[in-house]
């Protein structure tokens, strides 16, 4: 086997099919999207090359920056909520009774499809028959708000199911990472007189730091390109109050038949994701990774 693998041609042959597919399905379309952004195109008919007009329009478009602001807000909330997930995972990975059951309970939202979650929460938020408002009314609030129809509330009302949806995923990642830490380290620390708090924050957290970094990137980038629940639950409304970058791109390209502009928005979205990922990597960079084994 080693002999085969030392042959460069063989390596190339093994790598090639996947590489070709990735190029054809992901990288070529990315480049094409960037190119479409340079044209005026309605999806059928001829493309008209207009240079950087569309990109200039994106940068001056208030509606785009408003939606970008919403996406960033979601990214911040997602990143902050990671801390909560980490705490839950720390507790679960300790010797808690029923930890296994809890882990499964947290994971269930992850198994539902986004559209099912959206339908579920639409029912929860329904202004007159919804669970939430019925509950509030039973508590004595006479006129609870219509959560998805108020421009000031809709974004918050959407963030809750979005965070809820992914909670289980991150808890599971943290849980797995924490379980990977050799028990001998914890025992050694105990013998040296460390308390539970110190074990968690001085030993366990530094050891899973790489995982935490990855989840921050995942959460932030996932939030920036977030689309599904918002599309189903509010469609960016009312009046653009819950529009995010991806839904804005969709509306421009597929509703307004402005594929040129939509592509430009998509490409800017990609650039924003890349830049922010790079910034996060820079901020969380550490000279040497800690290893105790």
């Amino acid at each position: 086997m080693d002999k085969v693998m030392s042959n460069k041609y063989v390596i190339a042959l093994y790598v090639l099919p996947a590489l070709l597919l990735i190029l054809a399905i992901i990288y070529v379309p990315i480049v094409l999207t960037g190119y479409y952004g340079l044209t005026e195109w309605n999806g059928i008919g001829a493309m008209k090359f207009t240079g950087f007009d569309n990109y200039a329009r994106v940068l001056q478009d208030n509606a785009f920056w408003q939606s970008a602001g919403h996406s960033l807000l979601l990214a911040v909330f997602s990143a902050v909520s990671l801390f909560g997930y980490l705490l839950v995972a720390l507790v679960l990975s300790g010797k808690v009774k029923g930890a296994n059951t809890f882990r499964k309970i947290y994971l269930i939202p992850m198994l539902l499809s986004s559209v099912a979650i959206a339908q579920l929460w639409l029912k929860v938020y329904h202004p007159t028959n919804g669970v939430l408002n019925s509950f509030l009314e039973s508590l004595g609030f006479s006129n609870p708000p219509a959560w998805l129809a108020e421009t000031s509330l809709v974004l918050g009302a959407l963030f809750i199911p979005i965070l809820w949806q992914y909670a289980g995923f991150y808890i599971l990642i943290y849980y797995a990472a924490l379980k990977n830490i050799p028990a001998s380290l914890e025992e050694a620390a105990k013998i040296d007189g460390a308390n539970a708090w110190q074990i968690a924050f001085r030993i366990k957290l530094p050891l899973i730091m790489e995982v935490i970094k990855v989840t921050i990137v995942l959460a932030v980038v996932g939030s920036l390109k977030y689309f599904d629940l918002i599309y189903v639950m509010t469609d960016g409304g009312p009046n653009g109050a819950s529009e995010v970058m991806a839904s804005y791109m969709y509306h421009q390209a597929f509703r307004g038949f402005d594929f040129g502009f939509g592509s430009a928005v998509g490409f800017v979205l990609l650039l924003i994701c890349l830049i922010i990922t790079w910034i996060i990597r820079k901020l969380t960079e550490s000279k040497d990774t800690i290893q105790y084994s």
């Binding site: 059928i44 009312p238 509703r255 307004g256």
Partner: protein
């Protein structure tokens, strides 16, 4: 080891070949569909017309059967003609039409939508003008205002076979309970709204997340205040959205919102959710297209006692307004086109001519679809709600096409977003008008 490598390589190549073959299959289909008319070109006697439509036997059983009946009759009367069908679901149909039009392989006869959808095809000379049919034996058969929706630069590129108008449906039982009469004037209508809100009943069911639902209300308001042409002119740029009557129309909408005329949280509800308020008898009125009629008449899934309670009325006239109570907001649904480069164009046109007439005679009874041609209600047996509406339709003085269909896609989005903002009181009527002006000016 090397042998194993070779084997896996071969397997991989096989897999790739299968994938590629899968991709190739589709384009073959398109080729066959277009190839069918070649044998028609040389022999004058045997003719094949390719007809692509969107009524599969599964999801649109009644329409599918009707199409087959009409084709069978036509082939009986014209033994030299064979009509070959190609059937796709709605969304697939739209996509396929786009793709095959790019390679100039359109079927001889096909289905299209009005105005904005049709425009690129008409401008690209892909569809044949059908005005000669309109001046032939179809003359005067269409409800006024329907064929215009398919006209680009004074040429008609498709003939409509469906028509929808939007009455206000109301719950007779709720009206009776509060001693309400069907309103004839807008003041009476406001009275009805007032009484219902005082009694804790939501007057109007509306799901404005979809936005075109609210647009219907605005369009009627604009029509009744400014007359049939003001809005049309504003859209085709001979007029303006800053016309006083259009601004007043927007202001009236906000007055209705202030009166709590619409169910709670309407801007966050989809049309289906809005509709369910009416179906559950929590709201008294609901404005929607006639495509909802089966739900109020023939649909076996809906309890008869509810269906018996549903009536409709026309949007009331406004005192001092220029609009006519017999003017409707609505629009033709799909229409039939003939491909410009069809090799059997004359035969295809004759078939469309025949199809439109037969469809007009049968569609409402057989499939519950209101045709764009006039229906003689004395000759057909239908639920009363249908008969009443068809009679109204024959008296229609004007038909204003749904604004989001009339407008170019870009401007239509602005219109719809502005509608939601107007209902949500995020813009003033003046800003509402100004944004429309900007969006439409940009598109031209």
């Amino acid at each position: 080891m090397t042998k194993k490598t070779v084997t896996s390589m071969l397997l991989l190549m096989l897999a790739l070949t299968v994938v590629l073959a899968g991709c190739g299959g589709k384009s073959n289909d398109g080729g066959q569909a277009a190839g069918g008319n070649e044998n028609a070109a040389d022999s004058g006697s045997k003719v094949t017309i390719n007809f692509m439509h969107l009524w599969p036997a599964g999801s649109s059983a009644q329409q599918n059967k009707l199409v087959n009946d009409i084709i069978a009759e036509y082939q009986n009367e014209h033994p030299n003609v064979t009509v070959k069908q190609e059937i796709l679901e709605n969304e697939q149909y739209k996509n396929k039409l786009k793709v095959i039009s790019a390679s100039n392989q359109l079927p001889d006869v096909g289905v299209t939508w009005a105005a904005g959808f049709l425009e690129p095809y008409a401008k690209g000379n892909l569809f044949a003008p059908l005005d000669d049919l309109l001046s032939g034996d179809l003359n005067g058969q269409f409800v006024s205002g329907t064929t215009e929706a398919y006209a680009i630069d004074k040429k008609t590129y498709a003939l409509p076979i469906e028509l929808n108008i939007s009455p206000i449906y109301y719950n007779k039982a709720i009206f009776e309970k509060y001693n309400l009469e069907v309103p004839q004037t807008y003041d009476q209508f406001l009275q009805v709204v007032q009484t219902l809100t005082e009694n804790g009943v939501a007057p109007i069911a509306l799901g404005n997340k979809d936005r075109w639902t609210g647009s219907l209300w605005y369009m009627y308001m604009a029509d009744r205040l400014g007359g049939a042409d003001t809005l049309k002119n504003a859209i085709n740029r001979t007029g303006t959205f800053e016309d006083p009557s259009l601004i007043q129309g927007a202001a009236e909408i906000q007055k209705l919102v202030d009166m709590n005329a619409f169910n709670k949280g309407f801007n966050g509800l989809s049309n289906d959710e809005g509709k369910s308020e009416f179906m559950n008898e929590q709201a008294a009125m609901y404005m929607m297209g006639t495509w909802e009629l089966p739900n109020f008449t023939t649909n076996p899934d809906i309890p008869q006692e509810f269906k018996d309670k549903v009536g409709f009325f026309k949007f009331p006239s406004v005192e001092g307004g220029k609009g006519d109570i017999n003017s409707w907001v609505g629009g033709p649904g799909v229409g039939l086109f003939v491909a410009e480069n069809s090799k059997v164009k004359d035969e295809a046109k004759a078939f469309v001519n025949y199809f439109v007439q037969k469809w007009g005679e049968k569609s409402v009874v057989d499939a519950g679809v209101i045709p764009a041609t006039k229906v003689d209600t004395a000759k057909v047996e239908l639920p009363q709600l249908y008969i009443d509406l068809l009679n109204e339709l024959n008296n229609a003085s004007n038909l204003t096409l749904f604004a989001d269909v009339q407008l170019k896609p870009d401007a239509a989005q602005t219109h719809l977003n502005m509608i939601q903002a107007l209902f949500g009181k995020a813009v003033t009527p003046e800003e509402f008008a100004k944004k429309h002006e900007e969006a439409i000016a940009e598109g031209n």
